[in-house]
Subunit: 418 residues, 2 copies
Amino acid sequence: MRQSQLFTKTRKEAPKDEVAKNAQLLIRAGYIYKEMAGVYAYMPLGLRVMNNIIRVIREEMDAIGGQEIFLTALQDKKVWEKTGRWSESVLDIWFKSELKNGSQVGLGITHEEPVTNLMRDYIHSYRDLPRYAYQFQTKFRNEERAKSGIMRSREFIMKDLYSFSKDQKEHDVFYEKAKQAYVKIFQRLGLGERTYVTFASGGSFSKYSHEFQTVTDAGEDLVYVHEGKKIAVNKEVLTDEVLKDLGVKREDLVEKKAVEVGNIFSLGTKFSDAYELCFVSEDGTKKPVIMGSYGIGPGRVMGTIVETLSDANGIVWPEEVAPFRLHLVSLGKPGSDAEKAAVDLYSELSKLGVEVLFDDRDLRPGEKFADSDLIGIPLRAVISDKTLAMGGALELKERKTGAVSMVTKEELKNRLMR
Amino acid sequence: MRQSQLFTKTRKEAPKDEVAKNAQLLIRAGYIYKEMAGVYAYMPLGLRVMNNIIRVIREEMDAIGGQEIFLTALQDKKVWEKTGRWSESVLDIWFKSELKNGSQVGLGITHEEPVTNLMRDYIHSYRDLPRYAYQFQTKFRNEERAKSGIMRSREFIMKDLYSFSKDQKEHDVFYEKAKQAYVKIFQRLGLGERTYVTFASGGSFSKYSHEFQTVTDAGEDLVYVHEGKKIAVNKEVLTDEVLKDLGVKREDLVEKKAVEVGNIFSLGTKFSDAYELCFVSEDGTKKPVIMGSYGIGPGRVMGTIVETLSDANGIVWPEEVAPFRLHLVSLGKPGSDAEKAAVDLYSELSKLGVEVLFDDRDLRPGEKFADSDLIGIPLRAVISDKTLAMGGALELKERKTGAVSMVTKEELKNRLMR
């Protein structure tokens, strides 16, 4: 896309009331727009990043047998009363409203209740199991404070998968698969090194749940990291018994601030009991379905990437997440050979299916480079009269390392087509 | 996908309180689930159809220069008060809620207000124009009654595009382009023949707006169709002056019930005046931006397709919309040659990237055929011991026409790879 056509642009300043680094940078670079405290719109660049994150998560969920659905934001009071979570004293972050006839509705905070209720229509026999349903759905949480930018907002897209299994063994096998899929997702999203499988409390049906905690000073959680084992322990389960269980010594743990980018949870029969979600097993007896839930917030992931990987000049996107593969910057004046060469290269790469942001604006080089660093596309190619004079070469710069090299057009194409 | 793995299944009966034909069929065929009156979840098949409709619309919006964004559902009272539409006496279908600090928020019914307000950050000069921003966003409308299934629901995805132009001429050119894009969209979605560009009232800034009305008895609107010109007139503008304007005679118009599947509207400076959305023109003067809005509801389109194209046996999807290209039905018993041939063909086609729903279930042929008709995939291929005995052929049936033919595997592949 031509940058002159892109309707959002970089800004020198973020809104004064914006205190989170992730939102400040994303607003300044033109990715998001602050609608209200804790409520952000995604501009064309931001939506591209969001869709890349969603694509990676979707691929990994499909790979473990997930089937995508799309539940509703509006929630039925009657459905939620069955678990008691309609009450504000149990879940205190509801947005509620009402229909014209006066009956109350809520906005979905999470979807264990409706998905369990819904599955009663589709699960009757052991032949209907296991089932893994997931969605990308806007969730609404009436957070008291909203100071973490898109890492904790009042409205956000969440991927939530729910597993329905015949027995504990079938559940455990899938739970482990989901855990490995999550590890892979955070690796692909560029957060692998800083993200720890974290042991947290498991509720009534399992000893542990697992959080995926990314270490960052912007995090609101405290975790205890074991570097050697690449695991962490949540404060809530930091007991001698658990340490023994995990085979780690307290003195090897380091306290770190972290943000929870994902979590997986064994639900046992908590919800299937509440909704009588049962199936007829092979021996003819009626049994409750064993459930699990598996969440990731793509917006929170995006915010966490910005918090952890940006530098003084701006954002540094990992490859799979970046809004474009290449930032092509033309320094040629209108009508110059350099400008023509840049336009040619842009259309050649576009034809090859390479996603390029082409800075065709008539601005000083310094401004273009500053914008390019702020926007954070992994590779930048500069064409100028100077580079053309060097045998038609391009100056290639890696955003992450700052490494600069001169390459030919063919070398660039080979690199991008890999 | 193997039908034995698909977690939703067909049902004999729709819920008793469901009165709309579209929702009855879609629920029975396993596409949607009724969460509450006017609130529907999309199951795997339904989401595939929805995504196909969204893809077609997105392609056509991109083709006329649209840039995709993603605004917010939560709406700021302060923003909406500027046009007066926060008031229930002006817009009576709000869902409203409140933040913990007591301030009111609304759920987006439409997005003219926030998008105009937002654009003040991005439009300053004539160089920033024109701009065309669109989104697929969940809208919430607190409808008094909700009896039309997914054709009028309380929560639904809408594509809304907003145009921002320098002057009336630039606006008019885009408006016409958008109109043609809409014509193309409804053709691609299989509604072309029954959908009429309909002249409706234009508000303060233009003589007409244009609705896209699909003729169906399930429609809530009355339009006056001129078959020869392939246009229609909305009742609200059915005057002698307008008829003269359009060059049609009253006696050539036929009254029909119809559903509004899209609309396009010139907004003039109504919203840019309210938000002082101005730009500095080439002559240095400050001018208000000229706006337009362009809506399509993919869910309503899906409902309208079901209402208009289904037959006594079930749904009949147009090709671009269908959840799969082919319904492959194996009648072979487990272990039979027919079953093996079906599995082979399924994996061959899958490798070629053809999307196939493979009915591998151990059911009677009659049940499989009834399900297949109900689900409505355009092409059905049957493999049985009988078809195998006829030189390895398949029985191919077109859902729309009922035409049956015997084809070889190669012929089928050629047809699907076209």
